[in-house]
């Protein structure tokens, strides 16, 4: 492992208290590798032709095509602004869980800051939002060079945590960020997967490109706990006392079934999905995510 990547391990990065510096460390390490950002080249204006229909603005008719082919087509253009990227970070109580070292929220925040740094490096705008049962922090999109410390600072100060409300939260997000853009949702997505997918689909229908980064702890995925344990619900009243060994097989089966169902739901909605273990180094996760994103764009 190159030295630059060695420092991308969550345990090492956790020692950097400032999130913007942490993000810078990640992205610089990441960029020094083989990967390139998939967000380059989005300044092209022309997109495609389509048949003219009554009502279309005549300014958009391509007269050269009419002169050569004697048919009316309309030129469609990309927005002339730079890419807008929205980072939605789940700050609900379930994100507090930290099995070994870094919590899921910290991991998601670090990823979000790293992505923000990447976007800002492209001179594109990036905005951020934290949510639980409601929207807690909103940082409007901006391409200003000093925007990252703002995002990092707000993410670091996010403390109020409640249970997620997947049925309403994405409708609220759509209202906060009406302009289309790339929307990266970082959460553990623990809840009713149908509701979650339905919410994400709502955002997609508003013209957003959606990517779901599911952040889960190793304990939640592998369930290697020992001894009699009293599991206390982080988001509701209640507990369950058991020997984790005895329940492990069926627990893992239930988790796997849920993940498969959620992944298929997200994919079916045309969205990007990435599972991030909190034990993995950020650079690898970012690289995999961006590679998959680039491949998806090319398709």
């Amino acid at each position: 492992m190159p030295d630059s990547k060695r420092f991308l391990h969550p345990d090492a990065l956790a020692r950097i208290s400032r999130l913007d510096l942490r993000a810078k460390q990640i992205v610089e390490g990441f960029l020094s590798g083989a990967h390139r950002s998939p967000f380059f080249g989005h300044s092209v204006e022309f997109l495609q032709h389509r048949e003219y229909v009554p009502g279309d603005d005549l300014r958009h008719v391509d007269w050269q095509v009419w002169a050569r082919q004697d048919r009316l087509v309309v030129k469609q253009f990309e927005e002339e602004t730079n890419l807008r990227c929205y980072l939605l970070v789940d700050s609900s109580r379930s994100m507090e869980y930290a099995g070994g070292g870094i919590s899921k929220f910290e991991y998601a925040s670090t990823l979000a800051a790293s992505l923000a740094w990447l976007v800002l490096q492209q001179h594109d705008a990036v905005g951020c939002l934290t949510f639980d049962d409601d929207i807690r922090e909103v940082i409007p999109a901006s391409a200003a060079a000093g925007h990252l410390p703002t995002i990092a600072d707000r993410l670091s100060r996010t403390t109020r945590r409640e249970a997620s409300r997947w049925d309403t939260i994405f409708a609220r997000v759509a209202e906060v960020f009406p302009r289309r853009g790339v929307m990266l949702v970082l959460s553990d997505f623990l809840g009713d997967d149908r509701q979650i997918v339905k919410g994400l689909r709502t955002l997609a229908e508003r013209g957003h490109e959606i990517a779901a980064l599911q952040v889960l702890d190793d304990d939640e995925l592998d369930f290697n706990l020992e001894g009699p344990t009293r599991f206390e619900d982080l988001e509701a009243e209640g507990f369950l006392a058991c020997n984790p060994r005895a329940l492990r097989d069926s627990y893992l089966a239930a988790v796997q079934e849920y993940l498969d169902r959620f992944r298929h739901g997200v994919a079916a909605a045309g969205m990007q999905y990435k599972l991030a273990r909190t034990s993995r180094n950020f650079g690898a996760v970012l690289a995999e995510f961006l590679t998959e994103w680039q491949a998806r764009i090319r398709r």
């Binding site: 379930s94 009699p228 599991f231 988001e235 492990r248 069926s250 239930a254 849920y258």
Partner: protein
């Protein structure tokens, strides 16, 4: 409740079992309370998992708990005496003291030798040394040694003193250190043979008692014996005794020190026949030889000899020259049978003589030799007391018994006044007193006669017309407690005999006159009885319809065969014998005195009545001997034991012991330490010092107990079949110093298999209750 290793108390046992069984339950409950708190996000998956597995998990946990409790239960059973017989278990639990009990059979039969001259006792000694070697060098080893001969036979403890001497262990619970081992080795190397008879039953009782008194030890019992069939046969009580012993002993080993059944002949009895022991007349002896072998013994020569052992006046013991007697030849003795022969001896001088009979050498030499002591006097004295009426019976009796000195009997006739003097000691010089034609006696005279008979004298009373019936009833009959136990009626006249009537005198089966029954044309048939006394009606009614003699009296002859009208009634009184003759001695009521059979009957009657003078003619080693204390005897009795090659003789003073019914006796039994003073065959001298000068010394020949002469031993398989469940049966040469592991009992095996199964089940349950990652494909 079985006895267990930890305690004999059921309460402690129950508490222990309950405590141990509660352990897994407590662990189970504590584990359930000892939960780690973990805040958890993915609760939904846990709930799903728990819903799916709830019943299965509950069942697994329950099974695990039950399996652990069952393991503890079975282990408890194994550690208890129910299932655990292995010393390694007990040593593990701290019960490390092993007590070796050596039960050494040194009875007479163990002296039997094989062809090489090695006796069973020698083999037992070698085996005992191996046992010592087995225990050597191990910590916590105790040893107790018991010689069987140290234990009084059951018969002696039953009839002897209420306070039987305690069993004497030669070594009792000795810690086997170097010094003790050296001492025991020396003891075993010089182990003396014993001529005593001893059986295993009392030994089993004693060792069981000893083991029960030391419950904290592991007991191993070694029986070193020849296991003779007589002692260990299956209908014997030994199987039950061993079973009882097995409950307390961890291990029992039957070590056979003689594995071959040997042929053996033994002289069971040698004694004078008849009771006229006088010089110059033949004194017949009876000898009985038993064949204890499995095949017939043929052409047996018994060598005989005699020698004087006292001076003529009987006051000094001498070692006279041995005078051979003609050998006895016995053609055949069947297996298990016996043959009795009579031979005559005669002595020229008065004094005590030792007659010895000896068989050819066989495996057991001690029972081939038998000795008898006979004291020959110038003549045996008979006193005739005749009443003043003068019916002149004395001449007939003198002629019949004295026969001009040829019979060895001296008859003296004295008047009744002789009884009025204090003549107790003088009366002792007579064997028999004959009373004839006497009406009555004063009470002092009757008392003297009773004392005379009580001490072994013989008394015959000839009834006649002079008899005072009231005197008889009050003094002689005394309600059945007097000298004679038959009440009288009559006298009655006897009518002349018809041609079809039986003879007036009919001899019965009683040995006294049985010889006269078989005579043809017997002169006895010519005897005429004219007048007799008859028993009182109540006695006759009790005899109505009975052809058998009364229980306590003998009727050697009856009037015309009618048992209700006996002519002679034989009875016993104390140590002596009495005869009540229902008719006169003189030819007053009969003509018997003129009949030739009168001499025979008088001689036989004298012999019968004198028998009380010769008790204890068959003394056996190890058994209790008793001598009455006579008036005028001193307070002590001096016993002198014989001199043997192994040890010098010794003198022992015996104190008289009071008897329950009055009187006193000297008794020779084991002393308070259990030591047996009469454990060697030979001639013992018993001296009763008189209150004044002198005293009397009698010599007694003592023989071995022929119950030890049967050398038949069961085969190993037979012994194993009888005792295999209780003990391990080994021949002496199969025994090794290294302890063989006892095969586990069937119960132990079952418990071990059960524990193994339960442990496997417990492991499987633990495996099922834990997580095991699947190998990645």
């Amino acid at each position: 409740m079985p006895e267990n290793l930890f305690s004999n108390s059921p309460a402690v046992w129950i508490a222990l079992a309950a405590g141990l069984l509660a352990i897994p339950v407590l662990i189970h409950l504590i584990n359930r309370l000892r939960y780690r708190r973990v805040p958890w996000a993915a609760m939904e998956f846990l709930r799903i998992s728990q819903r799916k597995n709830r019943h299965r998990l509950w069942l697994k946990q329950l099974l695990l708990l039950l399996a652990r409790m069952a393991i503890l239960s079975v282990l408890l059973l194994m550690f208890s005496h129910l299932g655990c017989r292995d010393t390694s278990w007990t040593n593990l639990l701290g019960r490390g003291v092993t007590h070796h009990y050596l039960l050494l059979d040194d009875s007479l039969s163990m002296s039997a030798s094989d062809e090489a001259g090695t006796s069973g006792l020698e083999r037992a000694r070698q085996t005992a040394l191996k046992i010592l070697e087995r225990a050597q060098g191990k910590p916590g080893q105790l040893l107790s040694v018991l010689r069987w001969s140290q234990i009084p036979p059951p018969a002696e403890t039953a009839v002897g003193d209420s306070q039987a001497p305690p069993p004497q262990w030669n070594w009792q619970a000795q810690l086997l250190d170097r010094q003790t081992q050296d001492s025991i080795v020396k003891f075993l190397e010089s182990l003396p043979r014993s001529a005593l008879a001893a059986g295993p039953e009392p030994v089993a009782d004693i060792v069981e008692q000893a083991i029960r008194s030391r419950p904290d030890e592991t007991a191993i019992v070694y029986w070193l014996s020849d296991f003779r069939h007589e002692d260990w046969r299956s209908d014997h009580r030994m199987p039950r005794r061993l079973e009882s012993l097995r409950e307390v002993a961890q291990r029992i080993e039957l070590l056979r020190c003689d594995t071959v059944s040997r042929e053996n002949l033994a002289i069971r009895q040698l004694r004078p026949v008849g009771n006229v022991r006088a010089v110059q007349v033949p004194i017949p002896f009876s000898i009985t030889v038993d064949n204890f072998g499995q095949s017939s013994a043929r052409n047996i020569t018994v060598s005989l000899n005699q020698r004087p052992i006292s001076s003529p006046d009987g006051k000094q013991i001498v070692q006279g020259d041995r005078e051979p007697l003609p050998n006895l030849f016995i053609e055949e003795i069947p297996p298990g049978g016996s043959v009795t022969r009579i031979f005559n001896t005669a002595f020229a001088e008065p004094g005590s003589y030792l007659v010895r009979a000896e068989l050819p050498t066989d495996p057991l030499r001690e029972d081939n030799l038998r000795e008898a002591v006979v004291s020959a006097s110038p003549a045996r004295r008979v006193l005739v007391l005749e009443g003043p009426t003068g019916n002149a019976a004395a001449p007939f009796l003198e002629r019949a018994l004295g026969a001009k000195g040829l019979t060895g009997i001296a008859v003296e006739t004295r008047p009744l006044d002789y009884l009025r003097d204090p003549v107790d000691q003088s009366l002792e010089e007579y064997d028999v007193i004959l009373v004839s034609a006497v009406a009555s006696l004063d009470q002092a005279a009757v008392g003297r006669l009773e004392g005379f008979v009580e001490r072994g004298g013989g008394l015959a009373w000839f009834l006649g017309p002079e008899l005072d019936r009231a005197f008889f009833e009050q003094s002689l009959y005394r309600g059945g407690q007097g000298l004679f136990s038959v009440p009288l009626a009559g006298p009655v006249e006897i009518p002349s005999r018809g041609s079809e009537d039986p003879p007036d005198v009919v001899a019965s089966q009683h040995p006294l006159l049985a010889a006269l029954r078989s005579l043809r044309n017997s002169p006895l048939d010519l005897v005429q009885i004219k007048r007799v006394y008859v028993p009182a009606p109540e006695w006759r009614e009790s005899r109505e319809g009975s052809t058998e003699p009364a229980r306590d009296v003998d009727l050697p002859c009856t009037l015309r065969g009618d048992p209700r009208r006996p002519l002679i009634v034989l009875d016993r009184f104390g140590r002596g014998r009495t005869a009540l003759v229902m008719t006169t001695a003189a030819p007053t009521w009969n003509n018997w005195a003129r009949n030739p059979t009168f001499v025979v009957v008088a001689m036989l009657l004298q012999d019968h009545l004198a028998a009380g003078r010769y008790p204890d003619e068959d003394l056996i080693v190890g058994r209790a001997w008793r001598w009455p204390v006579h008036p005028g005897d001193s307070e002590t009795l001096l016993l002198q034991t014989p001199v043997t090659a192994e040890r010098p003789g010794e003198s022992v003073l015996l104190e008289p012991q009071s008897l329950e019914g009055g009187g006193a006796e000297f008794c020779l039994s084991r002393d308070v330490t259990g030591r047996c003073l009469n454990d060697e065959p030979g001639v013992y001298a018993v001296t009763v010092p008189a209150a004044g000068p002198g005293g009397r010394t009698t010599l007694h020949a003592v023989g071995v107990d022929c119950t030890e002469s049967s050398l038949e031993t069961p085969t190993a398989s037979l012994l194993t079949a009888r005792f295999g469940k209780q003990a391990q049966v080994l021949a002496w040469d199969e025994f090794h110093a290294a302890l063989e592991q006892v095969p586990a009992s069937p119960l132990t095996r079952v418990l071990l298999v059960l524990v193994g199964g339960l442990l496997l089940a417990e492991s499987a349950l633990v495996y099922l209750n834990s997580y095991h990652p699947r190998s990645s494909p």
